[in-house]
């Protein structure tokens, strides 16, 4: 059965799994729920593989199929349930289904002692479904459906422990912050529709690719620029970029597999995917791209700085995620979309790995997340330690791990970009240093040094196979994942770039010719490795042989409190809104106008009824009379044309 011909199977399977678990799971023992969840996800993973195989067999012909019309306004707007498959999709598809499947397996171990097991997997499968829609969608609206769906699932899963106030608050926060971004996204879609009279990727991009479409110069805010910026607002919301990144750290309230799957590997990269998907628009709007690059770079830097001092292991990883996403956007911003997607993939591997390992650590520590209360675990949980180390090396960018190649490509792209490429590169490099610092800080605090926990209270134990096996697989992936794109000086060919070439155009090595490029690239990668080493050394000096949690002062305090961004938002936006809604919308509009109207209608009805009920005398004969009156009226109306002559006397009696 050709899966490619009916792609819907891939995304239907998780939906079915979710429905089954959600509807009947509460009655069932965990193992049935497990088999349903894993079965659906695994099957969809296999289907994805098959689909990809067919795609490659077709000589990588971009595949697109319209399954049914969804919204059709007479001849202008057609939005169908259209799925497409091209190189970009292939990568996203494999990442989502593959990593998703692994994390599912992991979750079966991790969640086995939690309540609401079936609920969790129902949500998780639902998330897979929406994510796959997002990835496979062939038009903006369907993509938006997936977009919102994953948002919903993220909300549900962040607030999975809804009895914990912080959890439910975090869920709400994520949802609301995303609303802002989605608002921008929708505006962007409207603008696009107004401009191109369609929302299909094909049509829009084809139209945008026309030479007739003006290539808006830097600093010029044309339609495309505005549209791209609006779309990017959406992306900032979903992918936790400045200024909307605040929800992601709080999202760590959710179970760790969720953090791994949604808030590291897949969902948060949706923004990057979207930007990369509509790269044609962006390339026509350099201003927008520049903004993207700047935002990405800034996010990468700031998040890294915040990550330096966090004490919660998952918070550290969260901020690292934010900053890595920043890297991706930086890549997109400087036009190195391929690098961005590449980093997306590798990041999916090692960040999932890191989160899962962190989860394993937490599991081992019996729910403890504060790194200051760990230490010296390396001997206790060797597998986890090894995997975590692998992930750390990968993210900090030591060759030959994946992170090195992707981050290298990004920085290289940034360096070559104009204008201000050098600055972007510098900031990125700084962020890289910070990255390696806080990652190794995490490693040292967690696995080395003296134990800061009570052995008798906490029984440290290695996690079950179901958790460690995925860790190993991911570790392997984050090791080899980078080898698809060996830098040219490395002698190898950049399969990845070639693979994506049909979409993003030829290799983004622009400006300098090949030889110079080789030199430059070699130097830059050397610098990057040096930066990573620097971070490692500093971290070792500070935390290597154990350290006490000091009282935070000055800069440290500011960083520790995340630049007080949440407080600022609270004061600047939330407070006024609450005041407004309380004193205006609630007190005046709702109670005054709406309730007033409703009650007024009720009173009016009562008053009228009070008069009218007099006719309901309860006397049958009166009713009879009313019937007769009605009959007369009806009769008169019907026969008026016949009757008029009779009354006007023009007909003198009918009897002949």
């Amino acid at each position: 059965m050709p899966i490619l011909e009916n792609l819907w199977i891939i995304l239907l399977l998780p939906l079915i799994g979710s429905a089954i678990n959600g509807l009947f799971g509460s009655k069932w023992p965990n193992r049935i729920v497990t088999s349903v969840a894993l079965g659906s996800t695994g099957l969809s993973f296999l289907c994805a593989l098959e689909a990809v195989r067919e795609f490659l067999a077709n000589g990588q012909q971009p595949f697109r199929k319209e399954f049914f019309d969804w919204i059709v306004a007479y001849n202008d707007l057609r939005i169908g349930f259209d799925l497409q498959m091209d190189q970009l999709t292939v990568i996203m598809l494999l990442v989502v289904t593959g990593v998703g499947f692994l994390i599912h397996i992991y979750a079966t171990g991790y969640m086995s002692h939690e309540g609401g097991y079936y609920r969790f997997f129902s949500y998780l499968n639902l998330f897979m479904f929406f994510m796959l829609i997002l990835v496979l969608a062939a038009n903006y609206v369907l993509l938006f459906v997936g977009w919102e769906g994953v948002g919903l699932c993220s909300y549900l899963l962040i607030g999975f422990y809804f009895l914990k106030k912080s959890a439910s608050d975090a869920g709400k926060k994520a949802f609301i912050v995303n609303r802002i971004g989605d608002f921008g996204f929708m505006l962007g879609m409207f603008l696009l529709f107004r401009t191109f009279h369609s929302l299909d990727f094909q049509t829009v991009f084809a139209a945008a690719a026309q030479p007739s479409v003006a290539h808006e110069a830097m600093g010029q805010f044309g339609t495309l620029t505005v549209a791209c910026l609006l779309l990017f607002v959406g992306a900032t919301g979903k992918s936790a970029q400045i200024p909307l990144y605040v929800w992601l750290p709080d999202a760590m309230e959710g179970p760790t597999p969720v953090s791994a799957l949604i808030h590291a590997a897949t969902m948060v990269t949706a923004g990057v995917y979207m930007v990369a998907r509509s790269h044609i628009l962006f390339t026509h709007a350099p201003t927008a791209m520049y903004v993207v690059a700047i935002i990405g770079c800034a996010t990468a830097f700031f998040a890294a700085t915040i990550g330096l001092v966090q004490s919660d292991i998952k918070k550290v990883l969260a901020y690292s995620t934010v900053s890595q996403l920043g890297y991706m956007f930086l890549a997109c911003g400087v036009g190195a979309f391929g690098a961005g997607i590449f980093h997306l993939m590798t990041h999916a591997f090692f960040k999932a790995l890191l989160f899962l390992s962190a989860g394993s650590v937490i599991h081992a520590m019996g729910g403890e997340q504060d790194m200051w209360k760990m230490g010296g675990l390396s001997s206790k949980i060797k597998v986890t330690f090894a995997c975590m180390l692998a992930g750390t090396i990968a993210i900090t960018g030591f060759p030959p791990f994946a992170g090195f190649f992707s981050k290298d490509a990004i920085l290289f792209g940034a360096y070559n970009s104009e204008p201000g490429g050098k600055i972007l590169y510098g900031v990125g490099l700084l962020a890289a240093i910070f990255t390696s610092f806080y990652m190794f800080r995490l490693i040292y605090l967690t696995f080395f040094g003296p134990k800061h926990y009570d052995e008798h209270k906490v029984h440290v134990h290695e996690s079950p196979k179901s958790m460690t096996v995925p860790l190993m697989i991911l570790a392997l992936l984050s090791l080899v994942g980078g080898w698809f794109a060996l830098p040219s000086f490395w002698g190898g060919t950049n399969y990845f770039a070639d693979f994506l070439a049909p979409i993003f155009g030829a290799d983004e090595v622009v400006g300098a010719e090949a030889a110079a490029a080789h030199q430059l690239e070699l130097i830059l990668s050397g610098v990057a490795v040096a930066a990573a080493l620097l971070g490692l050394i500093v971290a070792w000096r500070m935390y290597g042989k154990g350290a006490k949690e000091g009282t935070s002062t000055g800069l440290h305090k500011i960083l520790y409190n995340k630049y007080y961004v949440d407080e600022i938002y609270q004061a600047a936006i939330v407070g006024p809104l609450v005041w407004l809604s309380t004193n205006v919308f609630w007190k005046v509009v709702d109670e005054g106008a709406i309730d007033g109207t409703v009650n007024g209608v009720a009173y009016g009805a009562e008053a009228v009824g009070d008069r009218v009920r007099q006719t309901q005398s309860g006397n049958t004969r009166s009713y009879a009379v009313w019937v007769v009156i009605g009959a007369i009226l009806v009769f008169g109306i019907i026969f008026w044309p016949v009757l008029r002559p009779v009354f006007s006397g023009s007909v003198t009696g009918g009897v002949r």
């Binding site: 004969r621 009379v625 009897v655």
Partner: protein
């Protein structure tokens, strides 16, 4: 030969009388009779027209009307018996439990 109009006028008169009966009688059974009277008036018109136009359909309608009247009488009288049992009176003006 009798002009059709005579029949029609007669049926109109009967119908009017039926209405009068319906409005002025108090005994619920008599009200029913009034309804039957009106139905009969209508039937007369039916037959007269169908004969005048030479189409038997009208007479078929009359048969149907009679059937319906029978059904109505059966059910209606059942109801009447119930009310009489409960209210101890057939006077429709005394059946005013819902009146406030």
């Amino acid at each position: 030969m009798v002009p059709t109009t005579y029949y029609i006028v007669l049926s109109a008169i009967l119908f009017g009388l039926g209405i009068v009966a319906f409005v002025f009688k108090r005994n619920i059974i008599t009200l029913f009779m009034a309804i039957e009277l009106m139905l009969n008036a209508v039937n007369l018109a039916f037959v007269a027209f169908s004969r005048a136009l030479g189409k038997p359909n009208g007479e078929v309608f009359v048969l149907f009307v009679i059937v319906v009247a029978a059904a109505e009488a059966a059910v209606g009288l059942g109801i009447i018996i119930l009310t009489a049992r409960n209210r101890r009176s057939l006077n429709v003006e005394r059946a005013n439990l819902l009146k406030l």
